[in-house]
């Protein structure tokens, strides 16, 4: 069975995936069109697999914000593969390209779907971190709504005590999702808010506590220390927590996203990524680089500003979305 068939089959295996893929297709229309039409265009123009072909392929990938290093590695591997299989026709290369890209996503574990680490019993604590304006608070609102609709009892902690209006913003999301928000006044110590929120979540026998934090640029040492302190409070109060540290990344971000993923991981041990604003024209290729270089999985993607616009990240669907045109062509 060819690679494309495998991918297609894996896709048809469950109906839910089908639905997910539709939503991806919608949200990622722009991304997919430009990306795969470029690759198709490229393949149509070049019959021969030569240096020019690879150079142009490199362009396609770089404009998708795939990290430069990742692209270089990928191109090297492709060149080797093409040589090994003695491929002369660009059409065949198409297969190899997708294969390699998918390999980066999946690693060895091709069936892995990135689920949230939710506890069966007791409180699950999620800590949400990221730079300013990435979409933390919005994603928390969406996530709270999603978890609540799954029957979970959710509490939110207003840990951004710094930015003007941040507490009120989370409160609006709390109202929309119908979940409680634990807050202190603006300017107070975020660690203290989180401490109280944990107490409140325990008292209410909540299933999930989602902790919002103020946006911070990763090179601000003092602010990163503050974040570590927040995490220590959670560790101390709930054994085994935080069960997830979610880094919220704006898909529009370029190579700095790697630095964000790296530095936030160093101080808070990031377990997953929420990739927001994929409804724009940004390609989200940075996901590849982050998987490739730091091995952090993407768990959710943001596809708009409404409460429903958060999707579980599904690597299959994501890659299928990127390559849908190519697959359907065959």
């Amino acid at each position: 069975m060819g690679f494309m068939d495998k991918l297609r089959n894996r896709f048809k295996q469950n109906a839910e995936t089908e639905e997910v893929s539709e939503k991806y297709k919608e949200g990622m229309e722009k991304t997919r069109n430009s990306f795969s039409s470029k690759i198709n265009d490229l393949i149509a123009r070049y019959r021969k697999v030569d240096e020019d072909f690879f150079e142009e392929l490199e362009e396609v990938l770089i404009t998708a914000d795939v990290g430069v290093n990742t692209v270089m590695d990928l191109i090297d591997e492709l060149k080797m593969e093409v040589k090994r299989r003695n491929i002369k026709d660009t059409k065949e290369v198409k297969e190899v390209i997708s294969e390699k890209l998918v390999e980066i996503y999946y690693g060895d574990d091709s069936q892995q779907i990135e689920e949230l680490n939710l506890q069966e019993d007791g409180l699950t604590v999620l800590l949400v971190v990221g730079v300013n304006g990435a979409g933390k608070t919005t994603s928390i609102g969406k996530l709270a709504n999603q978890l609540k609709s799954e029957g979970k009892n959710v509490v939110l902690a207003a840990g951004d005590t710094f930015r003007a209006g941040a507490i009120e913003q989370l409160e609006v999301w709390g109202e929309r999702a119908g979940v409680d928000v634990i807050k202190h006044t603006a300017g107070s110590d975020p660690a203290a808010v989180i401490f109280d929120a944990i107490k409140a979540a325990k008292a209410r026998e909540a299933d999930v506590l989602i902790c919002d934090t103020a946006g911070r640029l990763q090179n601000k040492v003092n602010l990163m220390n503050e974040l570590e302190k927040v995490k220590r409070v959670i560790e101390r109060e709930v054994p085994g927590a935080p069960h997830e540290v979610l880094l919220v990344l704006d898909a529009t971000t370029g190579q700095n996203a790697l630095s964000q993923a790296k530095t936030f991981s160093e101080s808070t041990d990031v377990s997953g990524i929420v990739l927001t604003k994929l409804d724009g024209t940004a390609k989200g290729g940075i996901v590849l680089a982050i998987r490739h270089e730091l091995n952090i999985p993407v768990k959710f993607v943001g596809l708009g500003e409404k409460m429903e616009d958060l999707r579980k990240f599904d690597a299959n669907a994501f890659v299928y979305g990127l390559f849908a045109d190519m697959l359907e062509d065959e």
Binding site: R163, L217, D250, T252, G254, A282
Partner: protein, 447 residues
Amino acid sequence: MAFEGLADRLQSTIKKITGKGKVSEQDVKEMTREVRLALLEADVNFKVVKDLIKRIKERAVGQEVMESLTPGQQVIKVVKEELTALMGGEQSKIAVADRPPTVIMMVGLQGAGKTTTTGKLANLLRKKHNRSPLLVACDVYRPAAIKQLKTLGSQLDMPVYSLGTEANPVDIATQALEKAKADHHDYVIIDTAGRLHIDTDLMGELSEIKAQVKPDEIFLVVDSMTGQDAVNVAESFNEQLDITGVILTKLDGDTRGGAALSIKAVTDKPIKFAGMGEKLDQLEPFHPERMASRILGMGDVLSLIEKAQENVDEKQAKELEEKMRTMSFTFDDFLEQMGQVRNMGPLDELINMLPGANKMKGLKNAQLDEKQISQVEAIIQSMTKKERQEPDIINASRKKRIAKGSGTNVSQVNRLLKQFSEMKKMMKQMTNMQKGKKAKGMKFPFM
């Protein structure tokens, strides 16, 4: 990490060339390839890089580089010149309408930093230009966006015009303008909701606001961490609104900021200001030539020097050098020095302006704790005048007293004393060394 400065990148190529005598076209090709990678790593848009590389190659193959004794440095010089030319000159003027009020519109993607920048701009207009702006809350979509602007307004003690979230942004802007005229405000700054450049409805709303209030400035606010997509965003906003300028935010981060170059290239509109922090006074004029260095990973040395010059006066510096040389440097001088360094701003910010600082992990985490510095200050302040001048007299009982007075312990006092004496030794060495070097003419390796 993946980020290397251009100079680092060129190192190996340069090594190959030196010793060979002549630079071949192949060498130039390799060098321009490194330049290309450096620019791409800095998020400069692909097409922009392509054009640049073409020009750089033309110049590099010519005499300028190939006949130079230091081809590597020559390439960097050419690249820097090309980037600086593309970035254009410094332009941080804000329009003034013939008949007040002057109207400024803030536009951009979600999360770019429009609201904060609105506050900063208002602050700047009042502080530097003695103006009295009216802020207008037109973001009726994002939860608590109005509250955010109102909070900034009250921090600045400036009025904010709002009609709540039910009103139409076009009406809000129109009525705000009337209000500003009635209340004799000379500036009106309209904060709009973040939106995607491909959202036709919301982009249409901006056009309508523009048609109604006829703004004198439309600032596109862009996150400096933006990747390749910056060109699409800037191009769309500019096409639909004919923006008058750009404000780049979050430049206090560690991004290379290649988006700046891309935006300038596709819009040809000046980048006027840069957001340098979350506080309301952290909006600075944008310096194109410094941005060029930063994109190339050469650090914002100029800003650092400027900051130092702002804070250290010439005479003091001379005195200090004399003291360092004659070893008469005391704890009092030390305290004063620390004060000066602190006046320059938070230490981590300073460190980040240094070239290569990103890579120096140790530097980042080690000595930068402001708390530690406060402790050192407390210890010195607990010394008597005599102890500060002659630290040798500090015996065990004195140490105990100092520790107690400063809320530290004896081993911390010991550590500081040791560091101080080592520092004095080092100073002497350094001043001697500098004298030697000066004679030969000291030069930065890549400037």
